[in-house]
Subunit: 219 residues, 2 copies
DNA sequence: ACCTGAACACCGTTCAAGT
DNA sequence: ACCTGAACACCGTTCAAGT
C-alpha cells in the first residue's frame, strides 16, 4: 500500500553510498544493501544491472560533487584547486578511491572531470603531448587521491622496525606527530600537496623549456 | 606412498605464484589452488595460515627477486636503478602490484626494499624530513609500479569520447601508437620514467636549496 | 512493472576425524 | 604430522513465479 516507499535507482544509490560510508566497501554486498532497504536481494536488480554497475553509479554521484573550476585563473593554481577539490570529495567518502581503483573503465563523471583538467592544461599553453604525459604522471592524483600503500591502522600494533633502521628514522622524522611511513597520519594534506607541487613545478619547468618528446624510444 | 610429493610451504607458494601468473589474482582461490596441487582445500592450511598470509608469502618471493643496488653511484641514478629493477619484478608478475595494494601491511621483503631506498637518499645527503616527504611522493613507484586507474583492455571497445574532446585529443596525442588515456599502451616504460624523472629532479632541486619544512601547518 | 523465493555455483574457513 | 570430508556462513546472480 505504501507505494511512495518503492525502490528507484536514486534511492538504491543513496542507500549504497550511505552504507559504504558506514561499513566500508568490502562489507557492502547486494544482500546487505537489500536488507538495509527492507527488500529482497533480487529487487535491486531492477534498478542496477549488477554490483559493478551499482559501484559505477555510486562513483558518478560522488565525482559529480567535485566543485567546478574557478574561472580565469592561471593553469597552475587552477589545476591545483581542481585537484584539491576532488580530494575533498574523496575525503568525504573514504571508500571511493578504492572503488575507482577496482573499476575497469572510467565512469562518465570521471571522464568529464579529466576532460576539465586537461582543458585547463591546454588553455594554459601546454602541448597535447606534454599534457598527455603530465596526466599520466598525475595518475590518480587528478581525482584527488594517492593510492597509499599502507593506510593508518591504530588497532594493529606497529611492526618491529629494528631490522630496518632507515625506515625507523624516516617514520619518526616528520614534523607532525602520529606520523609513520607505515602508520597513521600519512597521505594527509601536507604530503598530498608536497607531491602535487613537486609535480606541477616540474610540469611548469618543462613547459617553459618548450619540452618536446625525445626522438627515439626503445621498447 | 609418494612421500616426496608432499606439500610444503615453498611448493604452495610457487604453485600459487604460477597460478596467479596464469589466471590472475581475482581467479586465485584456495579451492582452485588446492585443485592445482591435487589436494583437498584444507590441506593448504597446514602451510599457510589463511589466504592473506598466502598472498604475503607470494609477495615476499617476488620482492626478494628485485636486483640489489649498484654500489657507489650517486643517489639519483642509484634510486632510479633500484626503482626500475623493482618495476622489472612487477612486470614479470602482473598481479603483484594489485596484491601489494590489497594488503594492509608491508611484508618483511617490502620493508627491506624501502629501507634500502631510504638508505640511498640519506647517504646522498637528503635530510630525514625531506626523505620522509620524498618517500610519500614516490608512493607505490618505489616498488616499481604506478597504480594505473584504467588498464589497457583490447577486448572492450573504447568508450565514445565525443563528449570529452580534450580527453580525445590527449588520447591520440602520444607518440607511440595504441596509446590512449583510457586504453592500451599506458603505464609503459616511457610514462613511468617521465614521471619518475620529474619527481627525482624535483627532489634534487629541493635538496640543493636546502629545503626545510614550512613552520606552520594548518590541519 | 516491480518484487519474491528458491536455487545454483561458488567463496574462506571451522571442526572432528582419519592415517 | 599431515591430510580428509563434511559442514557453516556467506557471496553474486539465474530463473520462474507471483502481484
Amino acid at each position: 500500500m505504501v507505494k511512495t516507499l518503492r525502490l528507484n535507482r536514486d534511492r538504491v544509490l543513496r542507500a549504497a553510498i550511505g552504507l559504504a560510508d558506514e561499513i566500508g566497501l568490502e562489507q557492502l554486498s547486494m544482500r546487505r544493501l537489500a536488507q538495509e532497504l527492507d527488500v529482497v536481494p533480487m529487487a535491486l536488480y531492477k534498478h542496477v544491472a549488477n554490483k559493478d554497475e551499482l559501484i559505477d553509479g555510486m562513483l558518478d554521484v560522488i565525482v559529480t560533487e567535485i566543485d567546478p573550476p574557478a574561472p580565469g585563473a592561471e593553469w597552475k593554481p587552477a589545476v591545483r584547486q581542481r585537484i584539491l577539490a576532488a580530494r575533498q570529495a574523496m575525503l568525504r567518502h573514504r571508500w571511493a578511491a578504492r572503488a575507482i581503483e577496482m573499476r575497469q573503465a572510467p565512469t562518465p563523471a570521471i571522464l568529464a572531470h579529466m576532460n576539465s583538467v586537461i582543458g585547463i592544461f591546454r588553455a594554459g599553453g601546454l602541448s597535447a603531448t606534454l599534457t598527455h604525459h603530465v596526466m599520466h604522471a598525475l595518475g590518480s592524483r587528478v581525482l584527488g587521491f594517492t593510492q597509499e600503500l599502507y593506510a593508518p591502522d591504530e588497532t594493529r600494533r606497529p611492526p618491529d622496525l629494528t631490522l630496518f633502521p632507515h625506515v625507523l628514522e624516516i617514520a619518526t622524522a616528520a614534523a607532525h606527530e602520529n606520523d609513520s611511513i607505515v602508520g597513521a597520519g600519512c597521505d594527509d594534506q601536507f604530503e598530498f600537496e608536497f607531491a602535487l607541487d613537486v609535480l606541477l613545478d616540474g610540469f611548469e619547468r618543462l613547459n617553459d623549456q618548450n619540452w618536446t618528446p625525445p626522438p627515439f624510444r626503445y621498447g
